[in-house]
Amino acid sequence: MSIAVDDEHISTRMRLRARGWDGVTLLILPAVALMLGLFIYPFLYGFWLSFQPKAGSLFANYARFFADPYLYETVAKTLWIAVPVTLLNLLAAIPVAFRVRLMQRQRWLTTLLVLPITLGTVLVAEGLLNYLGPQGWLNRTLMLFGIISSPVKLLHNYWGVFLSLVITGFPFTFLLTLSYVTGIDPALEQAAATLGAKAASRFRHIFLPLLVPGLAITFCLSFVQAFSVFPSAVLLGAPAGPTRVISIAAYQAAFEEYDYSLASAIAMIMGFIQLAIVGGVLALRGLFYRGPAGGGKG
């Protein structure tokens, strides 16, 4: 009968198995298919679509984006919000993480800080609308202590968006930084101390070089989140003015003008800028030590 065929069949299976492809490995297929269908394909489709403008040549969408100040200025506006917020969050997170690492019971603090991350940007925007308003508790408190004489305008401008990104972004940046800081063996600091290094030298020579790779990752993740700010830019900012960020432009193109082609082009530009900044930061990170931050054999 077909013994030869069976042999062939078995040997193919054996060969696959020897390379690690057996029944168990096939379990990844649904997840891979999902990612290809809902992540990779839309990206490729969007990329292709961005070169199919409603009117004009292949590059009409991109040409329009970089010619129309209402569109290209969104890049600068977004960066003008995202870069300062990310730097502020990161610079504040580092000393706080260094203090909190010495705390015995960190859990209550981390739980409180997880709250704004979990509640999300929409709720924070809604809360800040009340809290930062001219009759809100913040302005009232500042006036009570005589710091200001009349309410400061913190809503529907740059600062509303900025503050909402601090509220949601700082906990995120802090928790990431904390995980990197606590990953450094405390014995390394002790060793440096016994060798005569003062607190500032210990930070400069021991912690900082070991933290730079983690801080670079933290910066990238925090930046990318701030760069894609959307609900708070609409609700707390001036979505037609100083806080018309790039995601608003993309959203309006898609869902208000129904120009999916232009929307895709804007999304591609957004992704490209994120990629460029992340790539740049990670390239700089490559100049530093990247091994384990434990002492000796981990």
Binding site: R19, P30, A31, P42, V114, I117, A125, F255, M270, Q274
Partner: protein
């Protein structure tokens, strides 16, 4: 030389080492003030929403004139919260269940097998966690609308799976790796079939990790605004999207009514967050798999 050594010891002669220099104490105070300031503002912001939701009239004063619960009833009917909550839980539970069904087996394969292309597949799972949802959400929404899934509940569920399936995989891989493969081998030696192996050996071992991962997926999906917003239609809105529209159209409804809805949203999220925090470290919500790998 020896004399100067004495001088130094005299200058710092204090009862114990606890007496740190002033600059150090100032620095510590400054850092704690920073944390305190942040937390006070955070808590006050949340408290303001809650206070407003119970306020009868609140204008130009520290506290409202009186307390009432009527805004909860008006919010419930104005925003059709019964419908919205039903949709929210349908979406959230479907996403959680599907993420588990797709993610856990994939994580098992990733943890137990070495095969060519594994690094590339890992990158495929990492990318949706790193790229913010609004960036890939617009092309994704475009594809879903073109295929007729836009605006439907199926579309919303599919869109939400993009970040949650990789999340489950990345949380579960280190968890599965720490389970000794010899346990499975031993079960095989004792003659367990694949099904029995799965139900009586693997499932109980995986359960704690799955519980943690899926609870986090649940909390994240309740709060997932961008993807749901881009894909949902009027009948497939979740609570967070409905809240966005309500705030966006502020002025149409009473502020207190929107605040009441925000409190309901917070309550739903926080209940699940508290349940989740019984099983996971809060830091894990941000640092994902990294934390579980640390000693």
């Amino acid at each position: 030389m020896a004399i100067s050594a004495f001088a130094v010891s005299d200058a710092t002669a204090a009862p114990s080492m606890a007496a740190k220099p002033l600059s150090h104490r100032l620095w510590v105070t400054a850092v704690w003030t920073l944390i305190g300031f942040f937390l006070i503002n955070l808590i006050a912001m949340i408290a303001a929403v809650i206070t407003s939701s119970f306020a009868s009239r609140w204008l130009r004063s520290w506290l409202p004139e009186g307390a009432t619960t009527k805004w909860y009833f008006s919010a419930w009917s104005e925003f059709q919260l019964d419908d919205v909550l039903v949709v929210t839980f349908q979406v959230v539970f479907a996403v959680t269940a599907l993420s588990g069904l797709i993610g856990v087996p994939a994580a098992y394969a990733m943890a137990r097998r070495e095969f060519p292309g594994k690094k590339l597949i890992m990158l495929l799972f990492l990318l949706p966690m790193l790229v913010p949802p609004i960036t890939y959400g617009i092309p994704l929404a475009t594809v879903l609308y073109r295929s007729g899934l836009g605006g439907t509940m199926a579309g919303v569920i599919l869109a939400n799976l993009v970040p949650t399936v990789p999340f489950v995989i990345l949380v579960m891989i280190p968890f599965i790796e720490q389970i000794d493969p010899k346990i499975e081998a031993a079960a095989r030696v004792f003659g367990a079939s694949t099904l029995r192996l799965f139900t009586s050996v693997l499932l109980p071992l995986l359960l704690p990790g799955m519980l943690a991962a899926l609870l986090l997926v649940l909390v994240r999906t309740i709060a997932m605004f961008e993807l749901t917003f881009l894909v949902a239609g009027p009948t497939s809105q979740t609570l967070v999207v409905a809240l966005y529209y309500a705030v966006f159209a502020a002025g149409v409804r009473a502020v207190q009514s929107i605040d009441a809805m925000a409190v309901i949203y917070m309550a739903v999220t926080v209940v699940w967050l508290i349940i989740a925090l019984r099983f996971v470290n809060p830091a894990q919500i941000v640092t994902r798999a990294k934390q579980t790998k640390a000693h």
